[in-house]
Amino acid sequence: MNGKGIGGLVVFIGIIVLLNVLSYLFNWGWFFY
């Protein structure tokens, strides 16, 4: 995997972790927009 691919994967995983923690804190009742 090249640097660009790894960067994309880091963005992908980072966003998912961050948003799911926020969603959990808001009882999964957060509007995603």
């Binding site: 960067g7 992908f12 966003i15 948003l19 804190l25 808001f26 509007f31 995603f32």
Partner: protein
């Protein structure tokens, strides 16, 4: 008056070309947003208490997040993205709406009219997001101007829907914490609209749309 709708033709506005930085990172970010919205939709239903599944604050939120997931997968590439302060403008309203639902009383204790109000807001939001289609975005960014459906009535119908839903959360209580969330949310949404329009009004198509549809949020008021 019949508004001329839809979107500027692709050759003139949205689909022209994405900036050089877009591409892989934008695509991965879109996938991550989509997966997260989908997880939130499923978990909202999963965590619903007995008899709560069909309440608007459960099935409505899940439907919105499910639709948002689809739109994240399908949306157009960005033509121009806002400055950091403009991008940050979505945060207060997003946090405010999360808090409003978090701080609302248990759903089974809501009066019927509060469920009805929430359902109206959720329905308006779903219709607005569906009309926005592939131009959907969370942070201020120019994709393609949509002027059809609810966007012929006000320029930000999805935010109006959000305010109606959170108002239902507040009134179902009401408690001072929920009221604080509402107080945070209203100026947050106003700031978000202002930041978005600062960016979008650089596009001549959006300028024409602003002349055509004068109200931002509430018809005839603001």
């Amino acid at each position: 008056m019949v508004f001329l709708l839809i979107v500027a033709p692709a050759a003139e506005s949205g689909d022209v070309s994405a900036p050089a930085w877009a591409g892989d990172t934008e695509a991965w970010a879109n996938r991550a947003f989509a997966v997260s919205a989908l997880i939130a939709a499923v978990m909202r239903c999963w965590h619903a208490g007995a008899g709560e599944f069909w309440l608007p604050a459960v099935i409505g939120v899940a439907a919105i997040n499910g639709l948002v997931a689809v739109l994240f997968f399908a949306r157009r590439p960005v033509v121009s993205l806002g400055a950091p302060w403009q991008l940050a403008s979505c945060l207060p309203s997003m946090i405010g709406s999360g808090l409003a639902l978090r701080l609302a009383p248990g759903l089974t204790s809501w009066p019927y009219w509060a469920h009805g109000l929430f359902a109206a807001g959720a329905l308006l939001t779903l219709v607005a997001l569906a009309w926005l289609g592939r131009s959907f975005g969370v942070m201020p960014a120019l994709r393609q101007t949509v002027q059809a459906g609810p966007y012929a009535l006000v320029r930000h119908p999805a935010y109006l829907g959000e305010l109606i839903m959170t108002l239902a959360c507040f009134l179902a209580g009401p408690g001072w914490l929920a009221a604080s969330a509402w107080v945070l949310l209203v100026p947050g949404v106003a700031w978000r609209i202002w930041a978005e329009e600062t960016l979008l009004s650089a596009d001549p198509h959006y300028q024409a749309y602003q002349q055509q549809v004068r109200s931002r949020l509430i018809p005839g008021v603001w």
